[in-house]
């Protein structure tokens, strides 16, 4: 994984603050349209952060998602913090996190004063029934894109199906599922290497 060193204040104050502003505005935009929580954000990050700005690779994004799922806090915040840290250290992390949080903070703050009226706006309700379908489409595209980027093999496809089934059929905690997957990955790769090593050894 190729990670460029984060920008620092001593690299030039103008450049540094410009980067902070870009980070803040990019994540502000994502925060405004991030309906339906973290998973919608994946589609937006894929488009703006991975494809357009090239701040992350798709592979790196999936690694972050795995970390974000198994650490405290919302997925959107965790991803924003990671990208910010990578680009411009702690202040970058702060800029991205505040950018993501600000729109929903302002919207909810405004709504909380006329919460009963908001519930009775019928056309808003109709619009949201449509938006929920768009959220489905965005998540579906994110799954397709990530499926394309996973190394395909018997092992990875089995892990994918196993995780899906465990989630569907049991109430097992996500973090334990992920920890077990990590352990299985370590054991699997270790045994693959061990088998290769002994085979090579026998040939000699």
């Amino acid at each position: 994984m190729n990670v460029n060193a984060p920008l620092r204040l001593k690299d030039g104050a103008g450049k540094f603050f410009k980067e902070l502003l870009t980070l803040f505005l990019t994540f502000l935009k994502i925060g405004i349209v991030c309906f339906g929580g973290g998973y919608t954000m994946i589609a937006l990050i894929e488009r703006d952060v991975v494809e357009k700005k090239k701040w992350l690779t798709t592979e790196e994004m999936m690694d972050i998602l795995a970390v974000a799922e198994s650490t405290p806090g919302p997925i959107s915040m965790n991803t924003a913090t990671y990208v910010g840290t990578k680009r411009a250290g702690f202040l970058g992390a702060l800029a991205c996190t505040l950018g993501t949080a600000l729109p929903s903070f302002l919207i909810i703050f405004a709504i909380s004063f006329f919460i009963e009226e908001f519930e009775s706006l019928t056309y808003v309700g109709y619009a949201f029934r449509g938006i929920r379908v768009a959220v489905l489409v965005l998540i579906f595209n994110a799954v397709l894109k990530m499926f394309k980027n996973v190394e395909k093999g018997v092992f990875t496809v089995c892990v994918m199906i196993a995780v899906l089934l465990v989630c569907l059929l049991t109430d097992f905690y996500v973090i334990y599922t992920l920890l077990i997957c990590a352990a299985i990955g370590i054991v699997y790769n270790f045994s693959v290497r061990a088998v290769r090593y002994t085979r090579g050894y026998k040939k000699q």
């Binding site: 949080a101 903070f105 909380s112 938006i131 379908v133 965005l138 994918m160 995780v163 990955g185 790769n189």
Partner: protein
């Protein structure tokens, strides 16, 4: 000092909700109702509203509880409290990530974690589909597929095809002004969301009235 209490309560809630979002509802329930900031029905109403506004559920609920407990600064304190743990933890992890990912054992773990994440998001997609299109049906109970929203299926396919289509757009800066150059673009997700809102109003507000 209500501001400190709000900050500290939401700091704890942020720290202990792994996997995000709805995992925090039980914790919020006990903490928020114990402090008398909201009652149970207000909380339920708000969960419904939170689903139809942008942003993470955690931020939304923190802002709402903060506002109703202590106004604007209450909202600021609660929101900062819920953000702080993930900011600090991910900041530390991101600092270490570069060195960590060079280790074989971490690479091996992520080899299995990547497909696992695809499975997890696939699951999120299936549960959401059950709610949005099949009217809250259970996936392992064939008898519960009664309120199928066929219009939603239609909207889904229209939006899906649109999101996969490539459009030819003239290049903004032409290298050779004599020859018209194009670049192929797909629709931005924001446009898909806006379009879906219009389609929702058209279908549910005009056609199905």
């Amino acid at each position: 000092m209500i501001y400190l209490t709000l900050f500290w309560t939401f700091f704890k809630i942020g720290l202990f909700t792994i996997g995000g979002g709805y995992a925090m509802i039980p914790l919020i329930n006990s903490e928020v109702i114990r402090n008398g900031w909201l009652n149970e029905s207000q909380l339920l109403d708000f969960i419904a509203i939170s689903e139809s506004t942008p942003g993470a559920f955690a931020i939304n609920i923190a802002t709402f509880v903060g506002t109703s407990a202590a106004g604007f600064f209450g909202a600021v304190c609660a929101t900062l409290g819920v953000i702080a743990p993930s900011l600090l933890i991910i900041f530390l992890i991101a600092k270490l990530f570069r060195k960590l990912t060079e280790k074989t054992i971490v690479k091996d773990a992520f080899f299995a974690l990547r497909p696992a994440v695809v499975g997890l998001i696939g699951y999120a997609f299936l549960t959401l589909t059950m709610q949005v299109i099949f009217g809250g049906a259970e996936i392992h109970d064939p008898n519960s597929f009664q309120n199928v929203d066929f219009w939603a299926i239609g909207i889904f396919f229209v939006l899906f095809i649109l999101s996969k289509m490539h459009f030819k757009v003239p290049r903004f800066r032409q290298k050779h002004p004599q020859v018209k150059e194009y670049r192929r673009v797909t629709l931005h997700p924001v446009f898909i969301i806006l379009l879906s809102a219009v389609m929702g109003i058209l279908v549910y507000g005009v056609i199905l009235r």
